[in-house]
């Protein structure tokens, strides 16, 4: 187990007036340079967890530590890519990213800021559209700008709230490839919400499975047993792909509901489906399942 970079301890959130907490007893760690995806049904509080990590919302109970210091508010150390891109429509692509860059480095000259902006716009392949307004861009391009903006401030950790949810499958694929490439280049620590099982398998080193709310929990942590050099083209030919995928789908379809109301363990089980090229498609019944303390 690598040294923990981000530590989430006993996190819980009860909205005012609600009888039961949306989630409680959420525990997990993220190591530096790790890509972690969280999957769960709507209403289990994934976005709330991400907002707590970002410092935009406060939890009702529990703590979040980043690099041994408690997260007590928003910080430039954690970049956020919002679900609805959240670009400022009155600014161009250049202006939107420059706004973030100037926030991180207020002392920089205009030329320095501009050079930095151009570098990150080129990174997401939008150099030709740098002086366009968001309204002139397609959905995929807007989301790329959002990603470039988050990367441009060189955060220690990146939080992505279902960034590709509104995109069509083809666009989604290309941006996933881009994200994978950029993360490999920058060794970025990422926490990402997704609804898409294949997206999680492609991108994540570990996948957190959340049970249904109320009183949702991170019920299981699934290790991605495939090597990190994954590509969309070859992913589904690997022997570990189907055991992994079946495990995730089984959890979402069959098991997550039974684990609501706090029936999931507070300390999540870590599993590695398909690790030993297991022919059994139901890894929950195989000896590869192991508990971590």
């Amino acid at each position: 187990m690598p040294t923990e970079f981000l530590k989430v301890q006993g996190l819980g959130k009860t909205y005012p007036g609600a009888a039961e907490p949306v989630f409680d007893g959420v525990n997990f760690d993220i190591a530096e340079g790790e890509f972690v995806c969280i999957i769960g049904h709507s209403g289990c509080g994934k976005t709330t967890i991400l907002n707590v990590l970002a410092g935009l919302e406060t939890a009702s109970e529990g703590h979040v530590f980043m690099d041994r210091r408690e997260v007590a508010g928003p910080s430039l150390d954690r970049g956020v890519v919002f679900q609805g891109h959240a670009l400022m429509p009155w600014l161009t692509v250049r202006g939107n990213i420059a706004f973030a860059v100037r926030s991180k480095w207020p002392g920089w000259s205009r030329a320095q800021v501009d050079a930095h902006v151009q570098k990150y716009v080129a990174l997401v392949g939008l150099a030709a559209a740098i002086d366009k307004k968001p309204s002139q861009l397609s959905g995929g391009m807007k989301q790329r700008v959002g990603i470039a903006r988050a990367f441009a401030i060189q955060p220690r950790m990146l939080l992505l709230d279902e960034p590709f949810g509104a995109l069509d499958a083809l666009t989604r694929g290309t941006i996933q490839d881009e994200l994978l490439r950029i993360c490999a280049e920058t060794r970025q620590t990422v926490f990402m919400i997704t609804h898409d099982v294949d997206e999680a398998i492609l991108l994540a080193d570990r996948i957190l499975l959340m049970s249904n709310g109320p009183q949702a929990r991170v019920a299981e942590i699934v290790k991605n047993t495939m090597p990190r050099e994954r590509t969309r083209a070859t992913l589904h030919h690997q022997p570990a792909y189907y055991p992994l995928r079946n495990h995730l789908v089984d959890f979402l379809v069959a098991r997550s509901e039974g684990l609501s109301h706090g029936r999931a363990p507070a300390t999540p089980v870590e599993v590695s489906p398909g690790a030993a090229a297991d022919p059994e498609p139901r890894p929950t019944q195989t000896p590869s399942l192991r508990r971590i303390a």
């Binding site: 410092g55 928003p74 430039l76 954690r78 959240a86 400022m88 706004f99 973030a100 968001p134």
Partner: protein, 296 residues
């Protein structure tokens, strides 16, 4: 008027011209038709004293003998003549009761500008604060709701009593009538800035001042400008009435003075000028509004 026509195409422009021609035609027929040389014999058997008396009473026998309509409503020819006179020397000043139309307009415009700018200087920062704080929004709402529907002219006696200066009172009335739409729209615009943009600013640890000027102001600018445009429209409506009350100078006073002179051509010219200037002001704000509006 040109920009308006450009937008609607040449057919609309043609229709407008036709309507104008129709209007002028009706005017011409209505005023020329009633011109009758009926009073002609009267002038001859009057003594000079009697003629003088009649002139003082506004019943000039010589004029009544002419081609003027009995109703006293000016013909198109008279209108053209008066308009031409005003256009030739808009800035003459022959004492307090005889100033050029341009000069009067400048007086009115400067009053509107001063009152309006003062109102903007109060309403926009205050609206910002109210919009940012739901508590203040609710606390001040009853005051705004009561003060807003008061006709600005109702403040005039209070203003005259406390300020003791008619010209400044006029400015105050413009101030008070421009205040509300700007205040309400600014507060509304600021309060409804999208949460996402504020969250972006928060995650970037943007300072409150930068957040106000670089996020909230541009986000709320279209709504604020709408309020400013409404305020300008109201201010231009109110200045005419206010100047009729306080007198002295200004286009409103000019209209009232010409009514006392029974000079309907001058009144009509002033009405047209008020309309054209109001339209120009509105167009100016429409341009500004277009400049700050963003497509989402």
């Amino acid at each position: 008027m040109k920009t308006w026509m450009r937008g609607d195409g040449p057919r609309a422009a043609l229709l407008s011209l036709l309507l104008l021609a129709l209007l002028l035609g009706v005017w011409h027929l209505a005023t020329v038709g009633t011109a009758a040389p009926a009073a002609a014999p009267a002038a001859t058997n009057l003594t000079p004293e009697q003629i003088e008396y009649l002139k003082l009473m506004g019943k000039d026998p010589a004029a009544e003998a002419g081609p003027v309509a009995r109703s006293g409503f000016p013909t198109l020819a008279q209108m053209g003549q008066v308009m031409w006179q005003h256009l030739q020397s808009p800035f003459y000043d022959n004492g307090p009761n005889d100033k050029g139309l341009g000069l009067q307009l400048l007086h009115s415009l400067s009053r509107v500008a001063l009152g309006y700018l003062l109102a903007a200087a109060v309403a926009i920062p205050l609206g910002f604060v109210i919009g940012m704080s739901p508590l203040l929004y609710r606390a001040l709402d009853p005051f705004i709701q009561v003060l807003k529907p008061i006709s600005p002219l109702a403040w005039m006696p209070l203003a005259l009593y406390t300020i003791k200066d008619s010209s400044v009172s006029g400015i105050f009335v413009i101030f008070i009538c421009s205040l509300w739409p700007m205040l309400i729209n600014t507060a509304f615009g600021v309060a409804s800035v999208r949460r996402d943009w504020l969250n972006v600013a928060r995650t970037l640890e943007v300072s409150p001042l930068r957040r106000a000027f670089e996020v909230i102001l541009p986000a709320a600018a279209p709504t604020i400008l709408t309020g400013m445009r409404i305020s300008m429209g109201i201010a231009w409506l109110v200045i005419v009435a206010a100047e009729m009350l306080v007198g002295g100078t200004g286009i409103g006073y000019f209209v009232w003075n010409e009514w006392n002179n029974l000079s309907l051509p001058n009144v009509i010219v002033a009405i047209l000028v008020i309309g054209v200037v109001g339209m120009a002001l509105d167009l100016m704000f429409a341009r500004l509004q277009k400049a700050v509006t963003y497509a989402d």
